[in-house]
């Protein structure tokens, strides 16, 4: 299992990287943390003409706070996110999700931009970006454009990024103070991609629920926002009955696929169970 031959480039700037992508006209692959792409290369399931390695572009790794948003450079390592005080304070759901990404040695190299651009629907980051209504910045030959989460993920391992574009920044609105949150996952083995994961955030206003966010991982070709379930909570508050109803609704909203690890029915059922568990835990952590 050795990778096939490819040209290798380690540009020092995004512009240089974009030039390389153009040069190869869609036959080059962008190498970020490499924790998904390198296995594909080793299996020879991916045979690009060239790799454009972003790891020598230091300006792509940062975490800043601006206009109520947390902005993360695409090459920010998952490990950096895990231990970032800003993320802990402003995006605690992202922090919780990060701890569930593979294992620590994977997070040493894995990046947020790489994970989102890889668009594995079972992965944590796409679900969190979707739940928090985040967006990404893509830069291409024609300049930058902002892509909202709901427009980013097209299907399995496919995004709306163009082949000559590079995802350069991830933006997530800071979570409201006191928001309750949880990422509930069920996997057969620790550290694996979830059979089903549910990212939840609730913002309380006394007995009422001002905002509810529920997103799936693993329940279909893209992370799915469970809006109809959220609406039940926003309408009926965070009572046990409303949570049960939202969980039931959640399982009706998904049409997951079957694989060797789980049937579609089981995934649908788990969607309800984990929605309930995520909401209960989120509620327990919510203030306000």
């Amino acid at each position: 299992m050795k990778p096939p031959k490819f040209d290798y480039h380690a540009p020092r700037s995004v512009d240089e990287a974009l030039g390389l992508l153009q040069r190869y006209g869609g036959d080059a692959k962008v190498l970020a943390g490499g924790q998904s792409l390198m296995p594909l290369l080793n299996f020879r399931l991916s045979r690009p003409a060239a790799l454009v390695d972003l790891n020598r572009i230091p300006s792509l790794a940062y975490i800043t706070e601006q206009d109520g948003q947390v902005r993360l450079g695409a090459m920010t390592r998952q490990r950096t996110i895990e231990f970032s005080p800003v993320v802990k304070e402003r995006l605690p759901l992202l922090r919780e999700a990060t701890k569930l990404v593979g294992h620590l040695p994977i997070r040493t190299r894995g990046t947020i931009g790489g994970s989102l651009a890889h668009a594995d629907p079972s992965a944590e980051y796409p679900a969190v970006l979707t739940a928090l209504e985040g967006e990404v910045v893509a830069r291409g030959p024609k300049g930058e454009r902002v892509i909202k989460a709901k427009n980013l993920f097209r299907t399995y391992l496919t995004t709306s990024l163009e082949p000559d574009e590079i995802l350069v920044e991830v933006r997530m609105p800071a979570m409201p103070a006191g928001a309750g949150f949880a990422l509930e996952e069920f996997a057969r083995r620790h550290g694996d991609f979830a059979i089903i994961g549910i990212a939840a955030m609730v913002v309380r206003d006394g007995p009422r629920c001002r905002t509810a966010r529920l997103t799936t991982a693993g329940a279909g070709p893209v992370p799915l926002r469970l809006r109809a379930a959220e609406e039940i909570l926003e309408r009926d508050g965070l009572t046990d009955a409303a949570i049960e109803a939202a969980a039931r609704r959640a399982s009706e909203l998904v049409s997951p696929d079957a694989d060797i690890h789980a049937s579609a029915d089981y995934r649908r059922h788990l969607t309800g169970v984990l929605t309930k568990r995520a909401l209960k835990r989120a509620l327990g952590a919510a203030r306000g």
């Binding site: 299992m1 050795k2 040209d7 290798y8 390198m38 294992h103 620590l104 040695p105 620790h190």
Partner: protein
């Protein structure tokens, strides 16, 4: 013939230079070009963890990194753990607590545990299990490894306290 690249890096404190194809995996470079065969290959797709090394001080899988990416880096492999002819306290703990049988996952397990203890110096048993779940072992059922890492945490924690007191 793909273009060859030069890789200069420090491994276990020693500077090395080599030339290889850009596609050469870091683990192959360490094993073949630098003849550091302590780092093992178990799956070549980033799951088993046998090839784990410290890359600029942090645990990473050397089977899913290219050698060229390590140009300019500092790497610690299992060969660099022993200092002045003395086993590292983590190595000592593995021996004391039967944390290895066939020894094949052991280099990756040691490097993973070393990094883990840096991020969590006084872990609970559950945290140790989670920390070492990054590496697959087929021999030990992990119990000896868990015991060893917990024991090493006590030794290393004790040492840290002594250092901070001086």
């Amino acid at each position: 013939m793909a273009e060859m690249v030069t890789v200069r890096l420090k491994v276990n404190g020693v500077a090395h230079e080599g030339r290889c194809e850009p596609r050469k995996l870091l683990v192959d470079f360490l094993r073949e070009d630098l003849e550091l065969t302590g780092t093992h290959i178990g799956c070549e797709h980033g799951i088993c963890g046998a090839c784990t090394i410290l890359f600029n001080g942090e645990a990473a899988r050397s089977c899913i990194m290219l050698a060229v990416q390590a140009d300019g880096s500092e790497i610690l492999t299992v060969e660099g753990l022993m200092q002045n002819g003395t086993l590292h306290p983590l190595q000592e703990a593995f021996r004391e607590h039967h944390g290895l049988q066939c020894g094949f996952c052991t280099p990756g397990m040691l490097m993973t545990a070393l990094d883990f203890l840096k991020t969590n110096p006084s872990p609970t048993e559950a945290e140790v299990r989670e920390g070492i779940s990054a590496v697959l072992c087929r021999c030990t059922g992990y119990q000896g490894i868990v015991n060893a890492v917990r024991a090493a945490a006590r030794t290393l924690g004790g040492a840290a306290k002594v250092e901070s007191g001086t």
